[in-house]
């Protein structure tokens, strides 16, 4: 009967380990072997250089519309680092850094952006899913994968990514609810890059944070500095470990920023200020990680240059391989069903017949029949 404030036994923690001025919280600093640190840095740099390459290739017409990931590398990479080969990574579309870590090949990713299904076929040996276009829809199958992980009982976990804009979709909320109800071993990552095309985070939801949405679904959340790879790794490791032990889902909101355009078809000058972008450029995750490695003595200027050269060579090779790819124009018929239906066989034959007719067109004499 009495009126009182309810106690909701849920926790939302803020986490930052290495800030953009290089201040490090020693107590929180995760233990990462030097070799891993170098590999993480290389992957982040690779992702950045690949991103720049894609941007230019779009401008040259060698690939289609491209969605850059510049500035958001830490917010996906840290999660890929925290899971093993048997786990699952379910991306949205700005997780290139994580995909590279997991073993996706650059020529494949290029093929995807060049309008080729070959770019969506997952590399052997990893349990990941391809880029997903309908915003937030991946939350549902990511939840299903996690649910399956639980039912299989082998201790696997699933990391699913979504954008800040995506948290407005019903799919996000329904997936969160199921995850809570079935206590799925899922880490739901929100890459809050402050914008959903032209819509700022404040117009997307009246919630103070996105992290707090977990509370409504009955689980805990982190809000982390998503441009701080160390913080992302700390949060990811904890959430993954909890999920593996049967502790259920965690929501992790990564505070980051889309430094580039939404896609190459977008003009951000219409809706945001250059000053805002500049402010966030100072918080870029890449130089932050490099300086940390240099301070730690894990990397020096010469080593940095060597890594860059290595990546550039790999990029050139991947671009070359991508450009050698020849697609089969009848492929669209082959992957609709396990067995091609008679009607599809007829339609494929019709298309082949058309192509032959076109080839021989010049030789044909038109004849008037009616």
């Amino acid at each position: 009967m009495p009126r009182k404030t309810l106690e909701i036994p849920r926790k939302i923690e803020w986490l930052s380990v290495l800030d953009h001025e290089g201040n490090l919280d020693k107590k929180l600093e995760p233990k990462i072997p030097a070799e891993d640190l170098r590999k993480l840095y290389k992957t982040m740099l690779n992702s950045r250089m690949f991103d720049e390459r894609c941007f230019h290739m779009q401008r040259q017409g060698r690939i289609g519309t491209y969605g850059p990931t510049k500035g958001q590398e830490a917010a996906s990479l840290g999660f890929a680092y925290a899971i093993g080969k048997d786990d699952w990574l379910v991306p949205s579309f700005r997780e290139t850094a994580a995909m590279l870590w997991r073993g996706w090949e650059m020529d494949k990713i290029l093929l995807w952006w060049a309008g080729n299904e070959a770019g969506a076929s997952v590399a052997e040996g990893i349990n990941d899913l391809p880029i997903c276009v309908p915003v937030a829809s991946q939350c549902q199958y990511g939840m299903g994968v996690a649910w399956g992980c639980k039912l299989r009982g082998k201790g696997q976990v699933c990391i699913t990514f979504c954008g800040d804009g995506g948290t407005s979709e019903g799919d996000f909320h329904e997936a969160m609810n199921f995850a809570g109800v079935y206590q799925t071993p899922m880490v739901m990552v929100i890459q809050n890059n402050q914008w959903a095309i032209s819509i700022p985070r404040e117009s997307q939801t009246a919630s103070q944070t996105i992290a707090q949405k977990a509370v409504a679904y009955g689980f805990d959340a982190f809000q982390v500095d998503g441009n701080d790879l160390l913080a992302v790794i700390v949060a990811a490791r904890e959430a993954v470990e909890k999920a593996r032990k049967g502790g259920g889902p965690t929501l992790i909101e990564c505070i980051t920023y889309r430094l580039g355009v939404h896609t190459t078809a977008d003009d951000p000058k219409k809706y945001r200020s250059d000053d805002e972008v500049k402010e966030w450029e100072a918080k870029d995750p890449l130089p932050r990680l490099r300086d940390y490695l240099i301070k730690k003595g894990v990397l020096d200027e010469k080593g940095d240059q060597a890594v860059r050269d290595e990546i550039k060579a790999a990029l050139d090779a991947a671009t070359h391989k991508f450009e050698q790819y020849r697609h089969d124009q009848y492929e669209m018929f082959h992957h609709m069903f396990a067995d091609m239906t008679p009607e599809l066989q007829r339609q494929m034959a019709e298309l082949k017949d058309y192509h032959e007719w076109k080839e021989s067109g010049k030789k044909r004499q038109p004849s008037r029949v009616i």
Partner: protein
């Protein structure tokens, strides 16, 4: 008359309607500050303010479902789905409520709203941005489904859709958004929804199409005339629900032959409905089987291969020759 692209013509139709009726409002993702990803809503936020040109959060079901409630409060929402593929995120609202409320409430509560979206392939877009869902919507009784083919009819039909007392799905062929310009009259113009137009008169065969493939069909008609001495009549369907059986049948009774062209998949496509109506009403006038030139019953390929999938003038010509030479 000013020359306009389809984007400009659609924009004009919305501006005119919003100036005339304060209940008309536009809502969708990035329609305000960004003026729409294709700039179809350019200038609307400036002129009409944020209550009438609404940048919504990212949720198609809420845009369409919310619009249903706004209709009950006397508003006339124009909902923009950013792309055809994402209208599916609002499908349960469209199917479950938009099309049903008039019937459910015996006419008491109605949905005089428009759901507009860029439609179809041909712009090298990523997956889910090149869909042709007209048959899906046409199959939902209670919806009108309109597909303009050029700037002038786009403006007149969008105006008609906004004025219509019932919900209209308005599919804008994005490949035609900026492909060409047309004279668009300075004073508002409407066209009756449910009427096809003869886009080219002819006597030997009837080619029936709509949206972006109308252009390929008209190109084919030219070439059939020049190279094969075949005089094709071309019908621009414009509205697939309701469907103008009269114009289609009248033409086929004259020519005795027909080819239907659309980019959506063939199976249960609008072409199937057109053929059925011709068979029902004009079978004895036919001198050859009707051909369908359509997208295949596959998922439209990622864009590297989309032109193989989309009907082109060559496929229309081949099918027409087969029909004529039958």
């Amino acid at each position: 008359m000013p020359q306009m692209t389809m984007v400009q013509a659609l924009n004009l139709a919305m501006k005119e309607a919003m100036r005339e009726d304060p209940n008309v409002m536009v809502m969708g993702e990035d329609v305000g500050q960004d003026e729409g990803v294709f700039r179809v809503t350019e200038g609307l936020l400036d002129e009409f303010g944020p209550d009438r040109c609404v940048d919504t959060p990212l949720a198609e079901a809420a845009i369409v479902g919310g619009a249903v409630g706004l209709c009950f409060m006397g508003f006339k929402p124009i909902c923009e789905m950013q792309f055809d593929g994402f209208s599916m995120q609002a499908f349960h609202q469209t199917e479950g409520h938009v099309r049903r409320f008039r019937n459910r409430t015996r006419g008491r509560h109605t949905c005089p709203m428009v759901i507009r979206m860029p439609y179809g392939g041909g712009i090298r877009a990523i997956e889910h941005h090149s869909e042709a869902p007209e048959a899906t919507y046409a199959h939902l009784a209670g919806l009108k489904v309109v597909l303009p083919s050029g700037p002038r009819n786009a403006r007149a039909l969008l105006r008609a859709a906004i004025l219509d007392p019932d919900p209209v799905i308005f599919l804008e062929p994005k490949a035609s958004y900026r492909a060409f310009r047309e004279d668009v009259p300075e004073t508002p113009e409407t066209m009756e929804i449910g009427k096809a137009q003869i886009a080219r008169t002819g006597k030997d065969v009837t080619l029936i199409s709509y949206a972006a493939t109308l252009r390929a069909t008209l190109d084919a008609a030219e070439e059939l005339e020049d190279e094969h001495d075949i005089d094709a009549e071309v019908i621009d369907v414009l509205s697939v629900a309701p469907l103008d059986s009269e114009t289609i049948n009248a033409s086929i009774r004259k020519t005795g032959r027909a080819v239907v062209v659309h980019e959506a998949p063939r199976h249960c496509g609008v072409g199937a409905e057109i053929v059925a109506r011709v068979v029902e009403e004009s079978l004895l006038y036919l001198e050859a089987p009707i051909k369908r030139v359509t997208g295949f019953d596959t998922i439209i390929p990622f864009f590297a291969n989309e032109m193989t999938y989309l009907p082109d003038a060559g496929r229309v010509i081949k099918a027409t020759l087969e029909t004529v030479r039958f």
